[in-house]
Amino acid sequence: MKIDITRREFSEYRQAWRYQKELVNLRRSGLISDTLILTEHPAVITIGRKGRKSDGNVLVSDRVLDSKGIEVVEIDRGGDITLHCPGQLVCYPVMDLKNYGRDAHRYLRNLEEVIIGALGEHGIDSQRVEGATGVWVGDEKISSIGVGVTGWITYHGVSLNVCPDLEQYSLINMCGMKNARATSMKKILNRGISVDEVFPAVIEHFKKVFGNYYETTNSCGTGRQNRFKQC
């Protein structure tokens, strides 16, 4: 098995969602390999199947959201409400779990392992919390996970707070939990750090966790692109 890695510095949320679905169809048809997309989004609130906008976990009015240009999108992933914004790395693996034991929850634990490993590379100790999927540093959440699986092909995935404006999390009850607080690598390390500094470690740990199944096709570059770049 091999993995293609696609890096785009920024992508609009809905565009990235459509792109994942295209890849899911191509993966199912066997026309492409497993693919890992790494990107960032402009600020957007997404709600998985476990929640609804009407649940009251968006804490500001539509007018406030409009003024900030933040859309609320109900989507086809597991989990509840989350927020994406610049400074947060999002990773969308489109992979065929038939090659990984057909186990959706083991896949969640594996994604956590990737993030815990990548954070370790940057000197941050992080943990799982039983019953609260994601990665935590103490009682603060640094990484959220919500996946979709169709015909055992995965989409959606995992986010990692590298250097987002954490104030934005005051717009929502993260994951539908009233007391959950978000943290970031920047806050923990108490210094500036960029997504570009972090994503190589995520790729390395992705390969490590998903084992020797993979050979990577190419090394990966960065840069603003109009389209997703195979790199």
């Binding site: 998985g48 199947r49 597991g78 989990g79 186990d103 959706a104 896949y107 979709g148 699986v149 015909g151």
Partner: protein, 78 residues
């Protein structure tokens, strides 16, 4: 008749909640059409139609928790 079964989703996944059906009873469906979505804690699953025909019965309602391996509906094959 072809039973639609909630498949095994993983070792520690015993049940899942019906999110919604893409079709209603009486609809014609083709094999591999998206049929019904389920979710567990952080994963969402799309179950595809096991056969072409008419969606005769839906026995798992939206919002209902279902054990894996359960029959959730029936397709009358053409």
């Amino acid at each position: 008749m072809k039973e639609i079964i909630l498949p095994e989703l993983g070792e520690d996944v015993k049940e899942a909640t019906v999110s919604f059906w893409h079709h209603k009873e009486g609809d014609e469906v083709a094999k591999d059409d998206d049929l019904v979505e389920f979710y567990t804690d952080k994963a969402n699953f799309n179950v595809k139609s096991p056969a072409s025909g008419v969606l005769k019965t839906i026995s798992a309602k939206e919002g209902e928790k279902i054990e894996v391996g359960s029959v959730i509906g029936v397709i009358e094959e053409k």
